[in-house]
C-alpha cells in the first residue's frame, strides 16, 4: 500500500524561551488523514510544538510546511489548521451558535450556509438544540464538544487538539475518546493530538510521537512503541516495565540481575553495558521447578481486577514487577523465566556524566556554575576548557538545598531493580544523572554535592 502524501513537515525546529531550550531539533512528517499523538510528560515541549504548528508562536529555528506550502512565517489566522484548546477557550460573551459560527462569519459566508454548517456540526457532536445556550451554562463535556464543533466547522486540513480531555472525569474521558476516534474516521482529516496520558495515546493513535526534554524519543505505531521501546525513557513512560542495567556478553547473550539470558538482540559490542526492559506480563512466574531460569521471593501481591501484580525479589537483591493471572502469596519462593523474545535490549544513552568545565587553577575547576575542588593536582593551563566526568553513583544528594554545592530539582526517576537512576536538573537547566539507593520524589528540591575524589578531568 502506498503511503499517503505528507501534510505537515517539520524540519530542524528548535525553540527556546530565554535560555531554556524547550524544543531541540525536531523533525517530523505527518501524513494526510493520519491520527498522530504527541505524547510526553508535562514540560517536555509537546504543547509548544503544537502551538508552533498553529502559529501562536514563531519557532526560534527551523521550517514548517503545511500541505506543501512553507508556513514558517504565516500568522495563525492564515493557516489552514484549527485548534481545540485544553481549557476550551470558548468565547464567554457569545452563545453556542455564535461561538461555532465565529470562523465562518469571518470568512463572510452567506448566513444560510453558516446556519446549515453550524447545525450540521452540532448534530455531529450531538449538541442539537443547544445553539442558543450560554456557554457558561454548559458542563465540561458539553463545552468540549462545542470547542470541537467550533474548530471542525471550518473544515481545516489539520485539526490540532491540545490535551482536550484532560479536564474531564474518567468516565467522560473514555466516552469522548471513542467519539473523537469516530469523528476522525468520519471527517477524514488529519488530527494532531497532544496528551500526557499514554493509555489515551495507545487507544487513539495511528502514530505516536514520544517526546521528552524537548526531543523526540521515538516515533512509531502504538504496537511498535509498546513492544520495541527505543530507550529506557520510552519503556518507562509507556506501560509498566522492569528496566535493569545489563551487559551484552556477546550477540544473543545478555547478563542482568547477575544471571545470563539468551536474547535475540545482536550487533552490540562485546561486554557493552546496556539497558534491559522486561514488561511485567512477560515474566513467567510458577512453582519452584527445574524449568526456572532464576528464583525469587514474593514481597507483595495486589489484585488488579483481571490480573495480580506482584513484587518479587531475587536472592541477589533485584526486584521485579510481575503481572500474572495466578497469585502467589507473600513469602513464597517462586521460579521465574523470561523468553528470549521478550527481552528488549537497548543501547545506553550515556555511561557517565560529562560536563563542560574551565580550569581555575591546579586544584580547582569550574562547571555547572560552581567551582569544585579537586583531589589531585592537574597540569592544565588556567582558563583552559576541559571535559569533566563524574560517575552516576558518586554524586551525593541532600535533603536540604542549602547543604549542597549546587541546587537542583529531581525531574525523572527510573527504578532499576536495585537502585534508582535520577535525572536532576539544575537551575541553569543542566542535567545531572545520579544512581542512588535513597528514595526521592519527582519535583524534590535538593542539594547536590560532588566530592573532590569523584571528579575526573579529561584533557581536551
Amino acid at each position: 500500500m502506498q503511503k499517503p502524501e505528507p501534510i505537515i513537515t517539520i524540519e530542524h525546529v528548535s525553540h527556546s524561551f530565554g535560555d531554556k531550550i524547550v524544543l531541540d531539533d525536531i523533525n517530523l512528517v505527518v501524513r494526510k488523514g493520519e491520527f498522530v499523538t504527541i505524547l510526553g510528560p508535562s514540560g517536555c515541549g509537546k504543547t509548544t510544538l503544537l502551538r508552533l504548528i498553529a502559529g501562536f508562536q514563531k519557532a526560534s529555528e527551523g521550517k514548517f510546511t503545511l500541505g506543501g506550502t512553507d508556513v514558517t512565517e504565516t500568522p495563525p489566522h492564515h493557516r489552514p489548521v484549527n485548534t481545540v484548546f485544553q481549557k476550551y477557550a470558548l468565547f464567554p460573551h457569545l452563545n453556542v451558535y455564535q461561538n461555532i459560527a465565529f470562523g465562518l462569519n469571518l470568512k463572510k459566508l452567506p448566513s444560510a450556509d453558516i446556519k446549515r454548517k453550524v447545525m450540521h456540526v452540532l448534530k455531529m457532536v450531538t449538541m442539537t438544540d443547544y445553539e442558543e445556550r450560554d456557554v457558561g451554562s454548559l458542563s465540561g463535556g458539553q463545552q468540549q464538544r462545542v470547542a470541537i464543533a467550533r474548530a471542525i466547522v471550518n473544515e481545516p486540513q489539520v485539526l490540532l487538539l491540545d490535551e482536550p480531555l484532560a479536564a474531564l472525569d474518567l468516565k467522560m474521558r473514555k466516552d469522548m475518546q471513542m467519539e473523537i476516534r469516530a469523528m476522525h474516521k468520519k471527517l477524514g482529516i488529519t488530527f494532531v493530538y497532544v496528551t500526557h496520558d499514554q493509555e489515551e495515546a495507545l487507544t487513539l493513535s495511528d502514530t505516536i510521537v514520544v517526546m521528552s526534554e524537548g526531543k523526540i524519543q521515538q516515533i512509531g505505531t502504538p504496537t511498535e512503541i509498546y513492544n520495541e521501546p527505543a530507550n529506557a525513557f520510552v519503556a518507562d513512560f509507556i506501560g509498566e516495565s522492569n528496566i535493569m542495567n545489563g551487559v551484552m556478553i556477546k550477540d544473543s547473550l545478555v547478563e542482568f540481575a547477575d544471571h545470563q539470558f539468551e536474547c535475540v538482540d545482536k550487533g552490540f559490542g562485546q561486554n557493552e553495558p546496556v539497558d534491559v526492559v522486561l514488561r511485567p506480563e512477560d515474566i513467567y512466574i510458577f512453582e519452584l521447578s527445574e524449568a526456572a531460569q532464576f528464583t525469587g521471593t514474593v514481597t507483595s501481591c495486589i489484585f488488579k481486577g483481571v490480573h495480580y501484580e506482584m513484587m518479587v525479589i531475587t536472592p541477589e537483591g533485584y526486584e521485579f514487577l510481575i503481572q500474572d493471572y495466578h497469585n502467589f502469596e507473600v513469602g513464597r519462593t517462586v521460579s521465574l523465566l523470561v523468553k528470549p523474545n521478550d527481552i528488549h535490549v537497548m543501547k545506553k544513552e550515556r555511561l557517565i556524566n560529562t560536563f563542560e568545565g574551565v580550569v581555575i587553577d591546579k586544584t580547582q575547576v569550574r562547571f555547572l556554575g560552581h567551582t569544585f575542588k579537586l583531589d589531585e593536582k592537574i597540569s592544565v593551563a588556567n582558563g583552559s576548557k576541559v571535559k569533566v566526568a563524574v560517575d552516576f553513583n558518586k554524586i551525593i544528594l541532600q535533603d536540604n538545598e542549602e547543604d549542597g554545592m549546587i541546587r537542583g530539582d529531581v525531574r525523572f526517576i527510573l527504578y532499576k531493580g536495585d537502585h534508582y537512576h535520577l535525572t536532576v536538573v539544575t537551575k541553569d537547566q543542566e542535567h545531572i544523572f545520579v544512581d542512588t539507593n535513597d528514595v526521592w520524589d519527582d519535583g524534590d528540591r535538593i542539594g547536590i554535592t560532588i566530592p573532590p575524589e569523584s571528579i575526573q578531568i579529561i584533557n581536551q
Binding site: 530565554g18 498553529a54 502559529g55 501562536f56 500568522p75 495563525p76 489566522h77 489548521v81 484549527n82 485548534t83 484548546f85 485544553q86 481549557k87 476550551y88 477557550a89 470558548l90 468565547f91 464567554p92 460573551h93 465565529f102 470562523g103 469571518l106 470568512k107 467550533r150 474548530a151 471550518n154
Partner: protein, 262 residues
C-alpha cells in the same frame, strides 16, 4: 445570638459615627442660615438657588471644571491603563514584576509628594499651569488604579481566548476588539469609575497644578471658601444631592450584580 446582636450594633455605631457629619450637612441643607450648624427654619431656598443660573457663577464653574477634568482624566487613564495592563500581562515575569512595582509608586506616594513633584516638573518644563497640567496630574495618580482593576480580568481570562480567535481566522485587531475588549470591559469600567472618583475628590494635587489663572475645581473652591471663614451655603444642598445620587446609584448597581450572580 447575643454575639450577633453585639456585632451588628458595633457596626451600627461605627456607621453612625461615619455618617453623623454627612447627616448634619443634609439636615442643614434645608435651612437658609449662612453658617453651618445654625438652624433658622425649614426652607428649600438653597436647593432652588443652586439651580438658578448666574447666582453663583463661580461655584457652578467650579462644578463644571471638576466634572470635565474628572471625565477627561478618567477616560484617558482608562485607555492608558488598559493598554498598560495588556502589555504588563504579556511581559516576561521579571520585567512584569518591575513594572508592577513602578505602578505602585504613584499609589503609595502621598498626595503632597505627588503634588510637589509634579509642580516642580511643570515649573522646570516651563508649562503654564491650567487645565492641561491638572488633567496630566490626575492621569498620573488615576492610571495605576485602572491597571490594577484590569489586570485581574486578564489573569482570570482564559489565556487561549485571543489565540482561539486568531486560530478561527480573526486578524489580531479583530480578535482584540471582539474578544479581548468584551472580556476586559468590567475591569475597565470599574477602573474608570474609580479614576473619576479619585479625580473629583482630589484637592492636594489639583491645588499644586492648577496655576493662578483663576481656574477652580470644587475642592479648591471649597478650600478658598473655608479659608475665607465659611462654607458657601449652596454647597450643602449640592453635597447632599451628590451624596444621595451616588448612594442610590451604587445600591442599584450592587442589587443588579447580586441578581446577576444568581
Amino acid at each position: 445570638m447575643i454575639k450577633r446582636i453585639l456585632s451588628r450594633s458595633y457596626l451600627g455605631v461605627l456607621l453612625i459615627m461615619l455618617y453623623a457629619p454627612i447627616l448634619i450637612i443634609i439636615i442643614f441643607s434645608f435651612t437658609e442660615s449662612k453658617v453651618l450648624g445654625n438652624w433658622t427654619g425649614f426652607s428649600f431656598k438653597l436647593y432652588t438657588s443652586i439651580f438658578k443660573s448666574g447666582v453663583h457663577h463661580s461655584l457652578s464653574n467650579a462644578l463644571w471644571n471638576t466634572l470635565i477634568i474628572g471625565l477627561i482624566s478618567a477616560f484617558a487613564s482608562m485607555i492608558l491603563g488598559t493598554m498598560a495592563a495588556i502589555g504588563i500581562y504579556n511581559l516576561r515575569p521579571r520585567a512584569r514584576k518591575t513594572v508592577q512595582l513602578l505602578n505602585t509608586i504613584p499609589i503609595l506616594n502621598p498626595d503632597i509628594i505627588t503634588a510637589i513633584s509634579l509642580f516642580l516638573l511643570f515649573i522646570s518644563l516651563g508649562f503654564s499651569q491650567g487645565y492641561t497640567t491638572v488633567i496630566l496630574a490626575h492621569i498620573t495618580f488615576c492610571t495605576p488604579y485602572v491597571v490594577l482593576s484590569v489586570l485581574p480580568r486578564l489573569r482570570r481570562m482564559n489565556e487561549n481566548l485571543y489565540e482561539a480567535a486568531l486560530d478561527l481566522g480573526a486578524t489580531p485587531f479583530y480578535a482584540l476588539r471582539k474578544i479581548m475588549l468584551p472580556e476586559l470591559k468590567p475591569g475597565m469600567i470599574s477602573g474608570f469609575i474609580l479614576a473619576f472618583t479619585l479625580s473629583i475628590d482630589d484637592f492636594v494635587v489639583t491645588l499644586f497644578t492648577i496655576g493662578n489663572q483663576g481656574l477652580e475645581t470644587l475642592s479648591t473652591y471649597i478650600y478658598a471658601d473655608a479659608r475665607k471663614g465659611g462654607l458657601t451655603p449652596e454647597l450643602r444642598p449640592l453635597s447632599a444631592i451628590i451624596f444621595i445620587t451616588v448612594l442610590v446609584l451604587l445600591l442599584f448597581i450592587n442589587q443588579r450584580s447580586v441578581k446577576k450572580k444568581r
